[in-house]
Symmetry: C2
Subunit: 346 residues, 2 copies
């Protein structure tokens, strides 16, 4: 079932020749970061993850050097947050175009530096190469004392949450790509490291929304073999400014769940029994997670839309970008066709 998603299938194909480390705790597809049992006597596990920013630069979504620097840190730290790891640092490899100015380079490094500072972590080292295009690759290192957070483990009836307002990543991508008049929309996500330390004690499953909400729910559905039904108030979890921009663009707000440029929040599940204690604990650090819905028996993604409960074909939506060669206008067209179907009377 996992390999019905082209990206999963591609990763399975790429790695099928590889032998798995006997020290590796997690299986393929099941974790946002790789978890390694340290081969020496300690209660701690080591987490490592790598993430590259290239497509977002090529597509023109990230054109501000400061944001690119900020994001290379955050996308990697968000993977650590999703497994409950505390960061020890990051190494960053930079491909820099020969035409890049000193000013741009300083902004890029400032974004990296500020992102590390706010997350209380450090650049440990790096590598620099010249190239035709700008590409940043990071690898973040962390440690976990407890059992790591996993994508797998939720049960039917568990409550579904996001660590914060959703739709920000897709709104930002939309404003960058579609908008001639330059609607200004601020996008500067911060990895949910502090919150993930609470989740270590409560969450039955957890994954970050780096690829958007539907991609995240779909992956969790495939791994757990359960489904998710969003609450009828799910739109209150959307970022307000994002909702207004979608209205201005005459696009339905559920597109903000379907786009694949994520908000780097954590999607997680909490058992009913633990929910009250969890909410008290969250409140104690002034954190307001957004309630989204429930885990359901049927492995489907169900969303209340147009006064109906719609089964979202997340397989189709997740496979769109590869089918359409990363063409976002085609992607929107396909979503618009789906929206027309949803609107039809049952």
């Amino acid at each position: 079932m996992i390999n019905l998603i082209e990206e999963n299938n591609f990763i399975s194909e790429l790695t099928k020749q590889f032998e798995r480390s006997p020290f590796q705790f997690n299986k393929l597809h099941e974790s946002d970061a790789e978890i390694i049992d340290a081969p020496f006597n300690t209660d701690y596990k080591i987490a490592i993850t790598t993430d590259t920013i290239a497509e977002e630069i090529e597509l023109g979504i990230y054109d501000d050097p400061y944001l690119i620097g900020w994001m290379i840190v955050m996308v990697n730290l968000s993977d650590l947050a999703a497994v409950g790891a505390s960061p020890m640092g990051i190494v960053i490899s930079e491909l820099i175009p020969k035409s890049y100015s000193q000013k741009e380079l300083i902004k890029l490094q400032q974004g990296i530096s500020d992102a590390c500072n706010i997350c209380n972590t450090f650049v440990l080292g790096g590598d620099t190469n010249y190239s035709k295009i700008l590409v940043l690759s990071g690898a973040a290192l962390g440690i976990i004392k407890e059992k790591p957070l996993s994508r797998i483990g939720c049960k039917v009836g568990d409550l579904l949450y996001s660590s914060g307002k959703i739709g920000t990543g897709n709104t930002f991508a939309l404003t960058k790509i579609l908008n001639g008049k330059r609607i200004n929309y601020n996008y500067k996500p911060t990895a949910r490291l502090k919150e993930s330390q609470i989740l270590l004690k409560f969450a039955t499953a957890c994954m970050d929304t780096s690829d958007g909400i539907f991609s995240t729910l779909d992956q969790l559905m495939r791994l757990n073999n359960f489904g998710f039904e969003l609450n009828c108030n799910w739109e209150s979890a959307l970022d307000n400014k994002a909702k207004n921009i979608l209205k201005k663009l005459s696009l339905p707000s559920w597109f903000l769940l379907a786009g694949q440029h994520g908000e780097f929040e954590l999607i997680f599940t909490i058992s009913k029994e633990q929910d009250l204690i969890f909410k008290n604990k969250a409140e104690s650090i002034n954190w307001n997670p957004e309630f989204l819905g429930f885990v359901i028996m049927e492995p489907k993604i169900k969303v209340p839309l147009y006064s109906k409960i719609i089964n979202i074909d997340t397989e189709k939506i997740r496979n769109l970008p590869l089918k359409n060669k990363l063409d976002i206008k085609n992607y929107l067209k396909a979503l618009t066709n789906l929206d027309e179907e949803f609107k039809k009377p049952a």
Copy 2:
């Protein structure tokens, strides 16, 4: 003195805004891999390093997908070897051109897989993006129980060695770039992991030759504030086939020290007192390090050439590629001019 080298200066500039981790054991420029004191109770230190392969692909030096896969593992593991770390695994981020064929992709992955197998390590995870160009970034993770190998620590009179034959990387690059008739030269370095475990007990300084011999000696000279004088038999450390190819191309063999596409050997120093025990230990694993010369008081790189001892201006040579925008033909021309000077009677 370290920042007279443009690459060092560039790295110093890039990182000057960054705060250094209190857990980081090594200073900037002083180590091939980053060394982290684990923030929990253990005798072990953690090593992490990142290295990207982009320029070699763009320049046409690496055109075989299998070699590219092999090298992304080896360049990173070689950095671990240079600090005496045992690898725990590697994460690899792949930028793949949309035009890349399935066959090429399988070869690339096979190279990665074979390199990991021979080094008894594993791909832990990765990231895949589509792009215009092929770029591979790796980050390798390792552990060290003893005091890590450092670039700093050699004393005057210490013996200078290479872990194996030198000049292979530059010969390969030359054959790929200059040669219309396609001289076939096999290049497939293996990180010196086993050997580095012996060096942990003996070497007073160590660095890998990823940027070639002169770059390595120059960096060690700047960090230790001592120099190196090569022995009059230094040419016997050159790979035989490499020497013959240089002869065929009518190029002086010292160019093989000056080129900056390295052989991924380890350059290290051993104190006179320890040398015999070290050689016995090396012999016990059938390892024959190549003796190159001695550490000298004067911070110069001295090479016996044309019946004289020549002071090599390694600052000038190391700064050539950036000055000439990675143009290898210009690089060779500059070396040829130097060679003319060397040949002049004193």
